[in-house]
Structure formats: C-alpha cells, structure tokens
Amino acid sequence: MKKDLLGIRELSAEDIQHVLDTASGFKGVLERDIKKVPTLRGKTMVNLFFEPSTRTRMSFELAGKRLSMDVANVSVPSSSVVKGESLLDTIRTMEAYGADIVVIRHASSGVPHLLSGSVAASIVNAGDGFNEHPTQALLDLFTIRQHKGRLEGLTVAIVGDVAHSRVAKSNVYAMGKLGMTIRLIGPPTLIPSGVESLPGVEVYHTMEEGLPGADVVMQLRIQKERQEGGFFPSIHEYADLYILNSRRLAMARPDAIVMHPGPLNRGVEISSDVADGERSVILDQVQNGVAVRMAVLYLLAGGWVSSGTSGQQEELASSA
C-alpha cells in the first residue's frame, strides 16, 4: 500500500498507468454541470507551500474540493515557519489538526522524503527544489495520451533549462519507464552531465538537430535569474537559439503538439503565435492537472495497491 507520492522515481510503469486511467474517470466529473463528487467527504488536505505558487496550489485546492475534502492552505509568509518553527514541528501540527494528506512544495530537494517517515499523513510532493514535480509529469503524460492515444514509442523533445527543472526530471523518469524517447535540447550548461545514460534519453544542443521527428515539443520556463548565474550570455541570445516559433515547430512532426508547464515567458522560450496556436495544448494541461491530482488524492486516501494481483479479489467483493 502506497502512503505517499514523493516522486516518479518511486513509481512503476503500472503505477503511472493506474493514475492516468483513474484520472480519466475524474475528467468526466470536471465536464459535468456539477463538478463535485462526495468521495472523500470528511478527509482533510493541507497545502503547505514554502515557495510561491499560483497554479499548482490552486490546482490541488480545486482537486481536493471537487472530491469534497476540507482544504486548508498554508503559505510561508503567514505561517509559524517564519517564527523559526522546525519543519517537523510544522507538519506534526498539521497532522494534529487532522490532516490526512499534506501537499508540500519546498525549495530544498528531498524535504517531502524527509517528512514522509515522520508522520502518518500522506505526503504529496508538489515540487521539491531541483528534484521532482511528479504530478506535473503525470498531467503531462495524461495530456499527451489524450491527444496521441498512446505513450509508448512517442518521441518528446524537452527544451530549455533541464538542469534546474524538476518538471523535466519527473518527465524524464516517467517517459523512460513508459518506453518513450526523450530528446533533451539546451545549451551544455543547462543539461546535466551524464543524463544521456538514463533510459530513453538523447541530448542535443540545437533545435535544428533535436526537433525533427518529435511528436511532442515541451518548452521549459527559463528563469531569468539564471543569466546572472552565468549559464547563458543573455536572455536575447537564449531566445534566439531556443525559442519555439512557428518556423521551428515546422521541423517537428506535422501533428506534433506543443506543451509548457507555465507560467509562460512569451517571446523568450515560446512565441505568442505558437503558444496560442492550434497545436498548443497548454490549457489542456491546466485542466487535466485537476483531474490527475484528483486521481492521486483518491488513490492515496482510498488505498493504492501497486501489485496487479489484488484486482481479482476486488472484482469478487464488488459483485457481492
């Protein structure tokens, strides 16, 4: 039985498929007039965000509310953390309030893992440092499957600051497990060395080399402060080399879709005509994020068994 969702690294290919299949059921709920089900009535979820976030926090909040959970949001500037409370004390306090699930985002890698062993509540990693952002990868896969009808055998180009991107890392782990090809494209300073030894990964330094044949082009957000870190000479030079515009998109497969985890830097990593174009699925990603997070909350609260053998017993029990 799984207690937490700490990262994609801890999941099997079957686990990932199970989340995506479960999310399909919740997508139906989100398309109805009444976008709410009573499934997790009486359960409590806390969003504990040590880093600013609008979309991920709101996505988790809506996911919890649409499952009828009680949802509390704690952000750092208003919490006791600024008064010097330790992480463990903070999370134990959340648990004393009756939190069944704690969704946590933190600037340091490994914080969710550290906390998971100390509390009975389920921990969901909503982004930890440069490590992972598992629900983003799951919603990306769900969106790709929605548009392509399959995952295995697809080629995905991930472009930009791979080294500092927890979104890219979770996607690389997930896509490798599912038999997809991942082309990481970016300047050598922003591609982790040795990454090409991971399953399914190829490394390119130009869009012209990396895009041909891609089924999916995923642009990463470039953080402007990286320029001061010396990772690239200027934001303009970066944009010249790695922006996804319509001319470059034409190099990928004619049916390639365009993805971005948001928020967008228009004119830096993606041009407006591509971001708003008919091959962009960026807003589908946002919508699917709620369905995928509902699936994760549902599985963690309802019992997430990874092995494939328990299904038969379930079948017998439910027909009684």
């Binding site: 399909s24 059921g25 919740f26 299904g311």
Partner: protein, 181 residues
C-alpha cells in the same frame, strides 16, 4: 461447488418479461431511458433496450454509470475501486429513468447510484430493474422489476456471467466456505 440459479434460457426469458413490464408500467417508451450500473448492469440495460425496441419499435437511450465515487465504504476497503466509465450522453431532466443492476443485495450500490444520478440532472422519476434480488437489504430500497427473487444466506456470493465477456450467460451461487479455496 456452485449452484446455477439461472441459465441462458431463463435469463433471456427474464429480460423479455422485464422489458414488457417496463413498457406496461410506463405506458410506452415516451421519455424513457435505461441507466446500467457498471459493469453487469450495462450489459443488461443494452439487452433490455434491444427487447423494448423489438416490441415497441423504439429503442430507449442507454447510459452507463459508475458509482465508485459515491460509495459509502471507501474507508472500509483495502484498495480504492477502479473507476469505470460514466457515460450518459443525453439529459436526464424530466426523463423516466430505469436504473439497471444485475444483483440487488444490501441496496447500498443503488443508494450511490441515486446520488450520482441526482448530480447529473433531475429525472421525472427513477425505477429499479435487477436480474436477481437476493434479499438482505440494509436500506429502504426495492426493485420495481426483478428477473428472479432468490433467498440466499448473507455470506453467499452471487455472480453473474455474461456472453459479452465471453462466458455462457448464467447466474451462480457460491457458498461462503468455498470462496476461501
């Protein structure tokens, strides 16, 4: 050992009779629809719709409903139920809805189905059709149309097999003790 409660022929006859009863009770098929509860209820709803079509010349629309998200026993289960498709591609408002399930037992699945239907619209009325009513209700729910009433022990298991899943149509009863093996 299991006991066969209904065979292929009896199931066909029961569905035929229930189709006639549904038409009679609703005075035709005006504003009538069938909602099958996943999975067995969906097969039965499709078969009832075919029979009604053969009799009246009109096929009532059929929807499929998964009640997992409305169950009251999630905290008692070891594993979250796998969510199956809910697909009701027509409005339920002012419709005469016949909910179709294969085995009526405690009534809790039907309670969940009623809540799920209310979230989808406001039907004119809801009726219940079941292939087997095995008793042991825990809620004030009864079937409007039953293929067969069968007294069972609470710990027995009643299982329905469908030609849609590559089996011979039949309903089997397993005694509690034998389920362990």
């Amino acid at each position: 050992m299991s006991i066969e409660l209904l065979g292929t022929v009896e199931i066909g006859r029961a569905i035929s009779r229930m189709a006639h009863e549904i038409i009679e009770r609703n005075r035709g098929v005006e504003a009538l629809c069938l909602i099958g509860i996943q999975r067995g209820g969906v097969y039965l709803a499709e078969r009832l719709a075919e029979r009604i079509h053969a009799i009246e010349g009109v096929r009532p629309p059929v929807g499929r409903l998964d009640v997992s998200l409305y169950r009251d026993d999630l905290s008692l289960r070891r594993e979250a139920p796998r969510i199956k498709e809910t697909d009701v591609p027509f409005s339920l408002n002012e419709m005469r809805v016949v909910v179709v399930d294969d085995v009526l037992f405690t009534g809790r699945t039907i309670r969940a189905a009623l809540d799920a239907l209310m979230d989808l619209g406001r039907p004119a009325l809801i009726q219940l059709a079941t292939l087997v009513d095995r008793g042991h209700r825990e809620l004030p729910i009864k079937a409007d149309y039953a293929g067969k009433n069968i007294p069972t022990s609470r710990s027995d298991l009643v299982k329905v097999y469908y030609s849609e899943e590559g089996e011979n149509d039949r309903v089997l009863l397993f005694n509690a003790g034998e389920l362990q093996s």
